[in-house]
């Protein structure tokens, strides 16, 4: 597994030098979190606690969206980037195993996605706690916490799997990005369901979501693992 670490460090080193990736991983969360804090601290919500709680509740949805969108850029560039630079063959000529390669690519985008999401969540909580007040924290019910800490990593994995499949078929980063954005839409269903339910998110619903996502991840990652075999990469990928 020492090789896995080598692979991951290289992915991240490359990502840090790629503006498109940085945009997806850093800029997007800043904008989303910044916008919700701004809305919570200004405007009509300022004087009305009920409206504030509703807004806070809405804002929590962002932490179900971020894990879906953050991995896109990393995964697309880590795969299409290798194709464009024709680095796959030298990489595959090393003793790295197919599993290590797959895990390297998958975790390179899943780990930052999950961490950045949780960090954004933490920043959001701290900021609103001090700027608005502790009363908001009552909104953080068990279903929400389960969603953010249990379901959102699954969302990230689902998004990673889908993007890996799309990227293995695409030869152009932009096309891969656009197509993946469409293909991960099912991952946003939880958010749509939550927003339809307003404040009444209950644990059974969250567990159902989690179960469905687990199944989705299983299917998507199985397909991805098959595509990420040496033979496939060198003879079938475009």
């Amino acid at each position: 597994m020492a090789r896995l670490k080598v692979l991951l460090l290289k992915e991240w080193r490359e990502s840090l030098r790629n503006k498109m990736v940085l945009f997806g991983v850093i800029f997007l969360p800043i904008v989303m979190v910044g916008a919700s804090i701004f809305m919570l601290t200004t405007g009509e919500a300022e004087s009305d606690p009920v409206a504030r709680i509703a807004l806070f509740n809405m804002s929590l949805l962002y932490f179900m969206v971020l894990p879906v969108v953050i991995p896109l850029a990393i995964a697309v560039y880590s795969i299409v980037g290798e194709k464009e630079q024709t680095t796959l063959e030298p990489l595959l000529a090393t003793p790295v195993t197919d599993t290590e390669l797959f895990l390297g690519k998958a975790l390179a985008s899943a780990i930052p996605a999950i961490l950045v999401n949780w960090i954004s969540f933490g920043v959001f909580l701290l900021t609103t706690r001090f700027l608005v007040g502790g009363f908001l924290m009552q909104t953080l019910t068990l279903p929400w916490l389960t969603s953010i800490f249990g379901v959102s990593p699954l969302l990230a994995m689902f998004s990673v799997g889908v993007t890996m499949i799309v990227s293995s078929r695409a030869s152009d980063a932009r096309a891969a990005y656009q197509f993946s954005s469409l293909a991960v839409l099912p991952g946003l269903i939880p958010m749509i369901v939550y927003s339809a339910m307003k404040t009444l998110v209950d644990l059974r619903l969250v567990l159902l979501e989690g179960g469905l996502l687990l199944l989705g991840c299983f299917i998507v990652l199985r397909i991805a693992i098959r595509l990420f075999r040496r033979e496939q990469i060198l003879t079938r990928w475009k």
């Binding site: 030098r17 024709t86 796959l88 000529a93 003793p95």
Partner: protein
């Protein structure tokens, strides 16, 4: 170092490599020549255990293909057709990444050794994306050498380079020859193969012929002596009547004589010509280029396969 028996690779209906037999020794520089689409890259990919053969077997660096693929990969180095470097990483970081994947003992030292050897040390911190084609090829060559492989596969190392860069890389390859490193060089550059290789194989899906460059040429054409005469005397060739002469022809006023051993036969030939009243100006050996051989074979004039 490399033994292949009946190595075959199909892509659907297409047979890219058809029953290839090879036996390459430790320390040998082996030239693998063939036109575009001959299956050179496919062969390298199979031998480096990147793709699986559809048939046949091979051992590479003492390990059996298909059973000990990881061991093979850790003992061979591949210079792929395109250099394939991470543009956003520095030359040094590119190499360090691979050194660590190959689990080289002291990555920093190995990287320094090869950057210095390939004269890239001063540019170690520049991004690989800023390198010229020649420098990229050198960096890719350094990468293929980092783990001191037993077998080095070079897939058309000079094809994309200008003549000067090609010369540099070619000289480098010449200097890589050691007693325990086997080099498998794919090329269409015949001159390169002629100069660098101990043995060459001509290949187009199947092995057409193999041997050391000199004896290959001789076996195709025999030895030929060119005689320049001051006054061309048509008909003189019929009067030669020498038992060792297998063939004669006139080309541009010069007499071309095929024989088997120029060292002992040339003096006899010259004496005979003088007896017949010819004014001999020059006697030389006809040089057959590998290109003539290659083109003849590829056009199927001598197709033995």
């Amino acid at each position: 170092m490399i033994q292949a028996k009946g190595l075959t690779r199909r892509f659907g209906d297409l047979i890219a490599v058809d029953g290839l037999d090879l036996s390459i020794q430790r320390g040998e520089v082996f030239g693998f020549l063939g036109p575009n689409g001959a299956g050179k890259t496919t062969t390298v990919r199979m031998l480096a255990s990147l793709i699986a053969p559809s048939g046949g077997s091979a051992t590479v660096a003492g390990h059996e293909l298909g059973r000990e693929d990881r061991a093979i990969r850790s003992r061979v180095g591949v210079l792929t057709e395109t250099p394939g470097l991470y543009k956003r990483l520095s030359a040094k970081d590119n190499l360090l990444f691979f050194a660590r994947l190959y689990a080289v003992e002291s990555p920093e030292k190995q990287v320094e050794k090869y950057l210095k050897m390939l004269e890239l040390w001063d540019r170690r911190d520049s991004l690989a994306g800023s390198f010229s084609k020649g420098m990229r090829q050198k960096l890719a060559l350094a990468r293929a050498l980092l783990h001191e492989p037993d077998v080095l596969f070079l897939d058309e190392p000079t094809a994309a380079l200008d003549p000067e860069a090609a010369k540099t890389v070619r000289e480098l390859i010449g200097s890589l020859r050691t007693n325990d490193r086997t080099i498998f060089l794919c090329t269409h550059n015949l001159d390169e193969a002629d100069r660098l290789c101990d043995r060459i194989a001509l290949f187009k899906s199947k092995l057409l012929t193999e041997g050391d460059p000199q004896s290959l040429k001789e076996s195709m054409y025999g030895r030929r002596t060119v005689v320049h005469l001051a006054n061309s005397k048509p008909g003189i060739e019929d009067e030669l009547r020498l038992p060792f002469v297998t063939k004669t022809e006139w080309i541009d006023g010069r007499l071309l004589v095929s024989l088997s051993d120029p060292i002992t036969e040339n003096p006899v030939l010259v004496r005979r010509l003088v007896e017949l009243g010819a004014d001999v100006q020059f006697v030389s050996e006809l040089k057959v280029s590998l290109e003539d051989l290659y083109l003849d074979l590829m056009e199927g004039n001598h197709g033995s396969a």
